[in-house]
């Protein structure tokens, strides 16, 4: 079916989330919707799925105007949604999770007709080659399969228009390829697809048309056959951006971080880091690539003293630190940019100035005899805001009120406010816009050139390729390969991230 949105406007208190957005997608076509966080993609999608009502504007499906008062109306109109954060009940099995909300019942008690639902799911998964075990419990499935369950959920409701929100965010490169194949086969079968993403490569790969959103408006459209990454990036940001931060060759010095045979358990006591060996030298950036959940989080926590390893050795600047706590490690000159800045990087209800001294508040010059010297705190925080170009009304603004990019700059400013010999940056640019990514990368390269050893943990291949002097790939708690930055490509990294062993020891 043909989908058309005309002049959709949606206002939230203080924000114009969607400003007269008009887009259209023809039957059997894939429309790639590109935009940074905060560009209005999610709002538009929620309008399309009936979760929000637009303030003005019209939605046409096959030239008939439709209004969606609630999700049911959208589903009945044939719009199916695959959410970025999967909307599946973890303790249900596939049949229950797919049928939820569209259950067939077989008697007056409302007994769920499981057999009928199961039959239909098996038929659909065979027809569209969505390989899924209908009796498996959702929480036991890998994310790639969960996504297929999400797609099945939409097909089960006979959706002709499928909206995919950042569908590749949690997938391995291989799973992403499989997803593209599924999208192409669905489109060939007549399904209209809206593919929402902030990744430039994806729209170029899979879309028939591209529309770019910026600050709630349509910034432009492009033809994937002729458009380039640079053009799309500039359109997204609204100015010329550098996709790759300029950096000279690394000048590796002595070993700063050395990890030997490290084993670390996760919260469920499963072995998450399974014998990692890694050396990082002064003046180089080692990027640790891998799909989310392959032990990177626990590795970072072990290095920074947040989690005690089971066994193995960690040395930082020649000192054995595997049994140390976070403050001791931090005092060695280790900067930690945590993975989840909202949870571990900042205290949202505290001001920028207070957040700026979180790891040094107990030391001179910020405090003497347990009393804070607020004058010095304010001076230094103001300097940090200036140096790191943090866009904020004042240093007394609550950290939680800042945009994601500015929040991350506060974290980076704090971590770099004292001399560092080692930087551990976990997902340093997750959820940031292209402009902020550029800025953070620049700062990391600066630290490298000043002689620090840098570890960047990232799930984004673009980031890993852009900044890594060496790239270590983690899979199932091990480092399955270390590549020199120049030798790494999407293809060989993708293979390693999916668990293939390749290039073992190369340039290590």
């Amino acid at each position: 079916m043909r989908l058309e949105l005309r002049d959709i406007t949606k206002r939230f208190p203080g924000v114009l989330a969607n400003d007269r957005i008009s887009i259209s997608a023809d039957r059997g076509k894939v429309l790639g919707m590109l935009g940074e966080n905060g560009a209005g993609k999610t709002t538009l999608m929620n309008i399309l799925s009936g979760l929000y009502k637009p303030d003005s504007g019209q939605i046409f499906i096959d030239e008939t105007e439709r209004t969606f008062g609630d999700p049911v109306a959208a589903i009945e109109a044939g719009v199916g949604m695959v959410h970025q954060h999967f909307m599946l009940v973890p303790v249900f099995d596939v049949v229950e999770a797919v049928a939820l909300g569209a259950e067939t019942t077989k008697d007056a008690l409302g007994t769920f007709d499981r057999a009928a639902a199961r039959k239909r799911i098996v038929e659909l998964s065979e027809r569209y080659k969505l390989d899924v075990d209908p009796d498996a419990r959702i929480e036991s499935l890998p994310v790639g399969v969960r996504q297929r369950v999400e797609i099945l959920k939409a097909l089960y409701r006979r959706s002709d228009i499928l909206v995919l929100d950042e569908p590749s965010a949690v997938l391995t490169p291989y799973e992403t390829e499989e997803l593209y194949a599924i999208i192409r086969s669905l489109a060939a079968d007549g399904t209209t697809i809206i593919f929402i993403t902030h990744k430039l490569n994806e729209v170029l790969e899979v879309a028939d048309d591209i529309v770019v959103l910026r600050r709630g408006r349509v910034a432009g459209t492009a033809d994937p056959k002729t458009a380039t990454r640079q053009e799309l990036a500039n359109m997204m940001v609204g100015r010329d951006v550098e996709l790759i931060v300029p950096k000279g060759p690394a000048k590796p010095g002595e070993v700063v971080l050395s990890i030997e045979q490290l084993f670390v358990r996760d919260d469920r006591l499963e072995m998450a880091v399974n014998g990692v060996d890694l050396e990082v030298r002064a003046g180089e950036i080692v990027a640790v690539a891998g799909v989310q959940g392959n032990g990177q989080t626990e590795l970072v926590e072990a290095i920074t003293g947040l989690r005690t390893p089971d066994s193995g050795a960690i040395s930082i600047g020649g000192k054995r630190t595997e049994k140390w706590g976070p403050r001791q490690v931090s005092n060695l000159g280790v900067a930690h940019i945590p993975e989840d800045r909202g949870r571990d990087g900042l205290i949202s209800p505290m001001t920028i100035a207070e957040n700026y001294i979180l790891d040094t508040y107990h030391e001179a010059p910020y405090s003497r005899n347990g009393v804070l010297n607020l004058k010095v705190v304010r001076e230094r925080a103001a300097q940090g805001v200036k140096d790191f170009d943090i866009r904020t009304p004042s240093i007394d603004t609550y950290a939680g009120a800042l945009s994601g990019g500015n929040q991350q700059k506060v974290v980076v400013a704090r971590e770099f406010s004292v001399p560092v010999q080692l930087v551990i940056a976990a997902q340093p640019t997750r959820g940031l816009d292209v402009g902020s990514i550029e800025y953070i990368h620049r700062r990391l390269v600066e630290q490298r050139d000043a002689g620090a050893a840098i570890v960047i943990v990232s799930t984004e291949l673009d980031e890993v390729l852009a900044v890594g002097d060496r790239i270590a790939v983690m899979y199932a708690g091990r480092i399955v390969g270390i590549l020199a930055g120049d030798d790494a490509t999407y293809e060989n990294l993708g293979l390693l991230m999916g668990g293939a062993t390749y290039g073992e020891g190369t340039a290590a």
Partner: protein
């Protein structure tokens, strides 16, 4: 050999595994110590008779008697404990929590024998009493399961039961005075108790859903309010005008045929209707929660409300309805207290039964059948306590009365271990 392969072959047992092994050995040693202790107690009590009897057909009729000595009972306990200890020492993976019951049951029996010190005890009363006392706890647990499965914490069960008990006593008395019809009075009492408790459930839902008040705090407010209001009513009105606190009692009902089964009949099939309703409720809720569309949606609302909301399910409506239904059930449970146990309302007569119901819910892993079995454990503790008090054993009554609560603490803190409740219980849901 690659680094990855080396890591595999050198895989150390690790801190947690070592800890598990150590704990396993400690547990094994503890079982051994208890086995020896039981043996020692056995050696001292072979001369103490243990006599347990059962009514064959009816209360006060003929009895069937089991006679042994307390020493023999301790021998059984020693053997059972030693067996569990050996199994534990053989493997660190041993599922000791389940086997704990095998060791504990003979210990409880033997301890009982010791406390009775030769006095004969009629077990029919204890077992039938366990079922009776378990009924309100089980109902409270069902109300808790309904609420938490929908995503709402419901610690206000206690207060709803208390108010239900009070309303049932007053309405039952008034209707009985006005009409003289005991059956009508009981029905009116039960229905009004359920409706008032359902209103309190609605209040909790309104506070927790509409105003997003922390559900624990909202529940506590209702509990405190219930104590205050019922205390006021009792002290100002009921204690002076006792005719308003004399509802007709609910009597035990004999189920024809089944009640004539020797020994078992008097235990299982001579009981107040509440007990039969409690059985039925377990069966109905189990079917409804796990086999119907309603149950699927209820569980989705408690596990991952956003998943339900995005497919158009009205999560808030599910939660409102679940809390109202839970209110109806807790009102019924409350009416049991004033109609079936003492035939009057007493100050704070719930005495924690709502909370014990929640403990049963957790012990039973939020499953109706499990919660019912857990309620039986608590009912048994309560019935044993009354048996010992009646027989006048040589233990301070305060200690005897604390048995059900001690059992609750031990069960929830020690035996239950890690069970997983509905993932989103207690979290408000924002519906677009």
């Amino acid at each position: 050999m690659t680094a990855a392969e080396a890591a595999l072959t050198m895989r150390p047992e690790g801190l947690a595994a070592r800890k598990a092994l150590r704990n396993s050995r400690l547990r094994g040693a503890a079982f051994a110590v208890f086995a020896v202790l039981a043996g020692y107690l056995a050696s001292r009590s072979f001369d103490v008779a243990a006599t347990f009897s059962f009514w064959i057909d009816k209360q006060g009729g003929e009895t069937a008697t089991l006679s042994t000595t307390v020493g023999a009972m301790w021998v059984v306990a020693a053997i059972a404990t030693a067996l569990v200890g050996v199994l534990q020492l053989r493997s660190a993976e041993f599922r000791w929590r389940r086997w704990l019951l095998v060791a504990i049951a003979p210990w409880i029996a033997a301890l009982l024998g010791n406390l009775l010190a030769g006095k004969a005890a009629v077990l029919t009363n204890v077992l039938a009493g366990s079922l009776e006392l378990a009924a309100p706890i089980s109902m409270a647990a069902m109300a808790g399961i309904l609420s938490e499965r929908s995503g709402m914490l419901n610690i206000a069960l206690e207060g709803k039961m208390l108010v239900g008990a009070c309303v049932a006593a007053i309405v039952g008395s008034i209707v009985s005075l006005a009409t003289g019809n005991a059956v009508l009075a009981v029905l009116a009492a039960v229905v009004s108790a359920m409706l008032v408790a359902a209103l309190l459930g609605l209040l909790l839902a309104w506070l927790g859903i509409r105003h997003k008040v922390d559900q624990i705090i909202a529940g506590t407010v209702i509990n405190i309010g219930a104590v205050g209001i019922t205390n006021f009513i009792f002290l100002r009105i009921l204690s002076r005008a006792t005719e308003y606190n004399s509802p007709p009692p609910v009597q035990a009902v004999r189920i024809p045929v089944l009640a004539d089964i020797p020994v078992l009949g008097p235990i299982f099939f001579v009981a107040t209707p509440y007990v039969y309703i409690a059985y039925a409720m377990v069966a109905i809720l189990t079917y409804m929660i796990y086999r119907t569309r309603w149950g699927l949606r209820l569980r989705a609302a408690g596990e991952k409300p956003a998943a339900a909301g995005t497919v158009g399910i009205n999560v808030l409506q599910i939660r409102y309805r679940a809390l109202i239904l839970a209110g109806l059930i807790s009102g019924l449970a409350g009416s049991y207290l004033s109609l079936a146990t003492s035939s009057s309302f007493q100050l704070q007569m719930t005495a924690g039964k709502g909370f014990i119901g929640l403990a049963a819910m957790i012990f039973g892993a939020w499953h109706p059948v499990g919660a019912f079995l857990a309620a039986l454990v608590f009912g048994f503790a309560d019935a044993t306590q009354s048996l010992l008090s009646i027989l006048g054993v040589d233990v301070a009554p305060q200690i005897l009365q604390s048995i059900p609560y001690v059992v609750t603490i031990v069960v929830v803190a020690g035996v239950v271990g890690r069970v997983r409740g509905p993932a989103s219980a207690g979290q408000p849901y924002e519906q677009g």
